[in-house]
Symmetry: C2
Subunit: 256 residues, 2 copies
Amino acid sequence: MRTIAIANQKGGCGKTTTAVNIAAAFARLGNQVLIVDLDPQAHSTLGLGCDPDGLDKTVYDALTNVQIPISRVVVSSSEKGLNLVPSNILLSGIEFELASLYGREYVLSQQLSCLNGNYDICVIDCSPSLSLLTLNALVASTDVIIPVQTQYYALEGLKQLLETIEIVKERFNHSLKILGVLLTFVERRITLSKQVQQQVRDFFGDLVFDTVINRSVRLAEAPSAGQSVLTYAPNSRCAAEYKDLAEEISNGKTQS
Amino acid sequence: MRTIAIANQKGGCGKTTTAVNIAAAFARLGNQVLIVDLDPQAHSTLGLGCDPDGLDKTVYDALTNVQIPISRVVVSSSEKGLNLVPSNILLSGIEFELASLYGREYVLSQQLSCLNGNYDICVIDCSPSLSLLTLNALVASTDVIIPVQTQYYALEGLKQLLETIEIVKERFNHSLKILGVLLTFVERRITLSKQVQQQVRDFFGDLVFDTVINRSVRLAEAPSAGQSVLTYAPNSRCAAEYKDLAEEISNGKTQS
Ligand SMILES: Nc1ncnc2c1ncn2[C@@H]1O[C@H](COP(=O)(O)OP(=O)(O)OP(=O)(O)O)[C@@H](O)[C@H]1O
Ligand SMILES: Nc1ncnc2c1ncn2[C@@H]1O[C@H](COP(=O)(O)OP(=O)(O)OP(=O)(O)O)[C@@H](O)[C@H]1O
Ligand SMILES: [Mg+2]
Ligand SMILES: [Mg+2]
């Protein structure tokens, strides 16, 4: 099962929006897809029409109790072919719960390995930090997508994220690779956006996806309807962009 | 010393932008102001023209070594009347360093109490999480400003933030109060923005500041020049908005 973590500790760069919409786009290409919400904010859960407060069990239960296989936590989402491992606020206590557990970095990867045959692709939405949760996501993944907002602050945190990915690769998960860097909130007419875009391409070269995601109010509206933008605004440019990204990845146009 | 934490675990809602620009606006009103960067991303440090990698000591040193008074870590910023307690990536190890320390929630407040006579106002920029660092900020503060982006996901995390503030008030810091909720990224012509604005005002009532911050590319550009927007684009609408906010707070037009 190809497992793709959507990670960047910079807040608000489009992790959840990318996780929900790329997962929905992969499902439209005929894949069986699972999305894991690994953020206590539970925004992927909300964005797919599920109420975090109404859930009996979430990813928290599967991470803190090995007796509960993650398959028992999976729910269907508003999107055909896309299932969800939901989250809620309890997840914010995970650092404390797992603090003294030997092998606490592998808890998610052990749980997901039991689902290997059920899904083609698994997408993991990470919280805006390089915490134990994000570490679990990187250890459990085959690939990482790094959303980068075309704004000044976006560039600074990337060095640290790359270092963290290297450490995970060396010590926990040799097969982890950067699938690509995704430029988000792109605005063609704004100089700053163009400047940052150029700097990111200079720094990352081929790692930057050809597909970019432009700023679009449709992406901000879709979650309030509990839908991916592919369902909410099927003919919009941003729906086409996430479909293009899914195809770019599926066709292996990716780099490293 | 009035100490104002800028807190919200939602990523990218304008915490750093508000911390830097409100601090600069308070300085222009004649106050001696200190800004504390309590985010390992060090964006307030960068946004005020300081290089996080070039620093001998940061807030990390003052928090992990009581022998180092925070006054020895303070540097001047690009803004007149505004000093900075800088941060860098070392700060991301703080949870681990302080894990077994008795009274670890009070470390920042103990350090800041030594600066009481030197400054009129202290502003603390928090990271996008409700971690030990943000807990330290809330324990050390007299007031909290909550920036809320006018987008769907912005509403969901507020319940949890309010609960956390209540817990801090009961157990650690009785004088903490919510100074106000600041609407950010406002776009008058976008329906979603108007809807969320209305929902926030319905939920928070008088706690919402009269001043709102509109979306403006100037706010995204100013940090790349290492300046507040009051210096970078003094005649812009967003510079006027942050000056209005500083006056609204100074005139005591605030609520609870
Ligand atoms: N390309 C875009 N154009 C316009 N709005 C967008 C775009 N991508 C995301 N958004 C909106 O911007 C906000 C931030 O995006 P999102 O929540 O996906 O970021 P995030 O990185 O997951 O944030 P966090 O760090 O809090 O997890 C959301 O309200 C979302 O709807
Ligand atoms: N009103 C605004 N209009 C346009 N851009 C803005 C506005 N406020 C902030 N920005 C830009 O949006 C991005 C996010 O803002 P900022 O970094 O201040 O949020 P934050 O809450 O501090 O993020 P984090 O959760 O990562 O700490 C930055 O690039 C900033 O320059
Ligand atoms: Mg998110
Ligand atoms: Mg910030």
